[in-house]
Symmetry: C2
Subunit: 392 residues, 2 copies
C-alpha cells in the first residue's frame, strides 16, 4: 500500500464517465504543503492549468483535484469560469484557502466541464480520504490508460528514512515535452523551496521528458511535487549530498511511472531505449535520439521485430546534426550491428534481441564525447485502432 | 501515350527483383540535354547521388539509369565503386561520355548493387528504347508503389506548343524534404541554364516538398529536369511571361505526381490538404501546417473519419509558433468548425466531409497575412502492416 506521511488520497466515480469508472481524485495534505509544478509547453493550454499556475505561485498547496474524462481544454471563458467554480467550492468544503487547491483535468478537448456532477460528488470524495487512498486516486485519473501507475521508494536523509511516491497517468499523445500526462510526486522529506523546484525540474527532464509515444504534446500536461515535511529533517538545500540522494529518489519514481506510460503507450508492445553517444554536444545527441525515436519507419520496424538498421541510420541522417556516416557504430543491446559503417550484424542474434519487450539501441557518432537518450514505444495496429475512433 | 520529342525510354526486368517485376529503367536523350537536379537533404546519402551530383555539374545529361529493389545506400566504398562501374559500362555501351550518365537507385538500404545483373541487361534495356517507353520506365522504378506515376501537359511558348512530362515514384518515407522519391521531368522546350535550375527549384518547392506521408526523408531522393530543346523556341529566360508559363506547367506535372505519391502513401486512404492562413510569416504558416500534417493523432483521426478538431488545435499549439488560440477559425472544406475559438461544428456535416478521400483543413491564425500548405496522408492499419515487415 502507498502511504506518505501527511497525505491522504481518494478516488471515486462521480458521473463524468459512464459505466461506473472512477473519474474524480483528491490528494489532500493535512497541512498546507510546500509545492512546485511544471506545465505543458503547448500554447493551447487547458483552463485548469491557468488556475494551477496562478495558485502555485504562492508555493503552497493543500488539495489536488483531478478529474478524468473531460480535459476542460479549449473551452474558452466558460472553461475558466468552470474550473474556478469547482476549486472554489472544494476550498469551501475543505475549509481552506482557494489558492491552496490545485486543479487538473484530462480527457476530451472542447467539451465543457460538468460542474454540478463534480461538485455534488465532493462530500463522498472527501469522506473517502484515507492514508492508503492513492491507488484509488491513480485509478480515477486514467483515460485511455490500460492500468494505474504509481511508484514508491525510500531515501535516508539526515539519518531518517523518508518516503517519495509518484502517481501518474498517460498513454497516447506522449512526446518530448510531457503530454496528456499528469503526475503527482508526494514526499514527507523536508525540502527547501529552491531545492523543491530544482529537484522537480531535473527529475522531469530525466524521466517524463525522455519518453516518446507519438510526438504529440497535450494541452493539459502537469507534474506537481508536494512535501509535507513530516520527516522532520533539516530542510534539504539545492546542492550537496542530501540533494543528490533526494534527486536520485525522485528521478527513480518519476522514471518508473514514465516507463509505465511507455509500456502503456496506446497499443505499444515495446519500450526501446535509444542512446546516442560520441556526439559533439548533448543537444546534438538528444536531437538524433529523438529523431530516431519519433521515426514512424523505425517504430513500425520495432513493432515488426525487424532489425532494419537502415531506417535507424536514415533517421539519424535527417536529424539536422553533422556527423560522418562512414564512421558510426550501431548496437542492438550488446550486439554490434554496424562497425565503422560496415554491417557486421548477425541476423539471428539481432532478431532475437528485437523480439524482447525491452531492448536498447546505441548509436556512436564518433564525433565527440556527449551523449543523451530517449525511451520510445513502437507503432502497432492497436495504436491506429485506439486513435482512429477515440471521439466518435 | 507519353511522348516527349527528343527522348526515348525503356523499362525491363533485369533480375534485381524476383518474380519478373520490372526493375531497370533508362531515359535516353537523342543528344546531350541541358539538365539540373536537386537531391535529398539527409546527410546519409546513397552512392548514386554522389556520382549524380558530380556528373550534373556539367549541366548536361544524356542517359538516366534507374534501378529499383536495391538503394545502394550505406554500402561504403564498394557502393561507390559499383555505381561507377554501372555508369561507366552504360556510357561505353551507348558510346557517350561517362559524365552524361545520371544514376539513381531505390529500394533496400545496406545491400550491395548486383553489378553484373544490371550490366548484363544493358543490351536488352537499350534495344527496347522507344518514344513511348516511359510507361515501362515508370513501372521499372517502383518499389512499394501500388501503381506507376506519370503526368504530361502542354505549354505554348513563343507560339509553339511544347511538352512537359514527369515520371516519378514514391510511397512511404515521404516527408518535408522529398524522400524515397525519384522524379524525372522531361521537356522539349528550350530553356536557359539559369531558368532550368530556377524552374526546378520553384516547382519542387510547390509540389514534392509539400507532401507528408510519414515524415521520414530518404537517402536517395532525387528530382532531375532535362530539356531536349527540340521545340526550337528561343531559350526561356529566368523571368517574364514565358518563364511563368513554363513554371506553371512544370509545377503542374510535378504536383500531379506528388499527389499520386500521397494517394499511394503506404496504406493511405486520404489526401488531406492542410492550409494555414493569417500567419505572421510564410515560415510560421508552414511550420504549423507541417506539425498538423505530421501529427500521428491527427493522421489516425483522418483515417477514422473522426472530425477531432481538438487534435488539430493541439498540434497547432505545439508547432512553436506564437498565436492567440482564442482567436482562431477552423474549416473542414467550406464548413466552419471553429469560429474565434467557439466550436460551431455541425457533427453530421463535418463527418460527411471527412468521409471523402480528399478534403481540406483550413486554419486561420488571425495573426497576419501569410499562408502556406501541405498535403498529408492519413495513418492506417495498412501503413503499419507494410512497414512492420518490409525487410524480413
Amino acid at each position: 500500500m502507498i502511504k506518505v506521511p501527511g497525505f491522504l488520497g481518494s478516488g471515486i466515480h462521480s458521473g463524468i464517465k459512464k459505466k461506473w469508472k472512477k473519474d474524480l481524485a483528491l490528494i489532500y495534505a493535512e497541512e498546507p504543503a510546500k509545492a512546485s509544478a511544471v506545465f505543458t509547453k503547448n500554447i493551447v493550454r487547458a483552463a485548469p492549468l491557468e488556475v494551477g499556475m496562478e495558485h502555485i505561485k504562492g508555493g503552497l498547496c493543500q488539495a489536488v483535484l483531478v478529474n478524468s474524462g473531460i480535459a476542460n481544454a479549449y473551452t474558452g471563458k466558460r472553461g475558466l469560469r468552470d474550473v474556478k467554480t469547482t476549486t472554489k467550492k472544494l476550498a469551501k468544503e475543505l475549509n481552506i484557502d482557494e489558492s491552496l487547491v490545485f486543479p487538473s483535468s484530462t480527457g476530451l478537448i472542447g467539451t465543457p466541464l460538468p460542474v454540478d456532477t463534480i461538485t455534488q460528488a465532493y462530500p463522498k470524495l472527501i469522506s473517502e480520504l484515507r492514508e492508503g487512498g492513492f491507488e484509488d486516486a491513480s485509478e480515477a485519473i486514467m483515460t485511455t490508460d490500460a492500468f494505474p501507475k504509481h511508484s514508491i521508494t525510500k531515501a535516508t536523509i539526515g539519518g531518517k528514512k523518508g518516503t517519495i511516491c509518484c502517481i501518474g497517468k498517460g498513454a497516447g499523445m506522449i512526446s518530448p515535452n510531457m503530454a496528456t500526462m499528469l503526475a503527482y510526486i508526494l514526499t514527507d522529506i523536508n525540502i527547501s523551496k529552491k531545492a523543491l523546484s530544482k529537484v522537480l525540474k531535473n527529475s522531469v527532464n530525466n524521466s517524463f521528458n525522455r519518453i516518446i509515444v507519438d510526438g504529440d504534446t497535450s494541452t493539459n500536461d502537469t507534474v506537481l511535487i508536494m512535501t509535507s515535511g513530516r520527516l522532520g529533517n533539516k530542510a534539504v538545500g539545492d546542492y550537496g549530498a542530501d540533494f543528490k540522494k533526494l534527486e536520485a529518489a525522485v528521478t527513480q519514481v518519476a522514471s518508473d511511472v514514465a516507463e509505465m506510460i511507455i509500456k502503456d503507450g496506446e497499443g505499444a508492445t515495446k519500450a526501446v531505449k535509444i542512446t546516442v553517444i560520441g556526439a559533439k554536444s548533448t543537444k546534438d545527441a538528444e536531437k538524433v535520439a529523438r529523431t530516431i525515436g519519433n521515426s514512424l519507419l523505425t517504430k513500425t520496424a520495432f513493432y515488426g521485430e525487424d532489425p532494419n538498421w537502415g531506417r535507424i541510420v536514415a533517421a539519424a541522417g535527417r536529424a539536422g546534426v553533422e556527423f560522418d556516416p562512414d564512421k558510426i557504430d550501431l548496437f542492438f543491446d550488446d550486439h554490434k550491428v554496424i562497425s565503422s559503417s560496415k554491417v557486421v550484424m548477425d541476423e539471428k542474434k539481432a532478431h532475437k534481441i528485437l523480439k524482447k519487450p525491452k531492448f536498447e539501441v546505441t548509436l556512436n557518432l564518433k564525433n565527440g564525447k556527449a551523449s543523451s537518450y530517449v525511451i520510445a514505444s513502437d507503432l502497432s495496429f492497436e495504436y491506429v485502432k485506439i486513435n482512429a475512433h477515440y471521439r466518435t
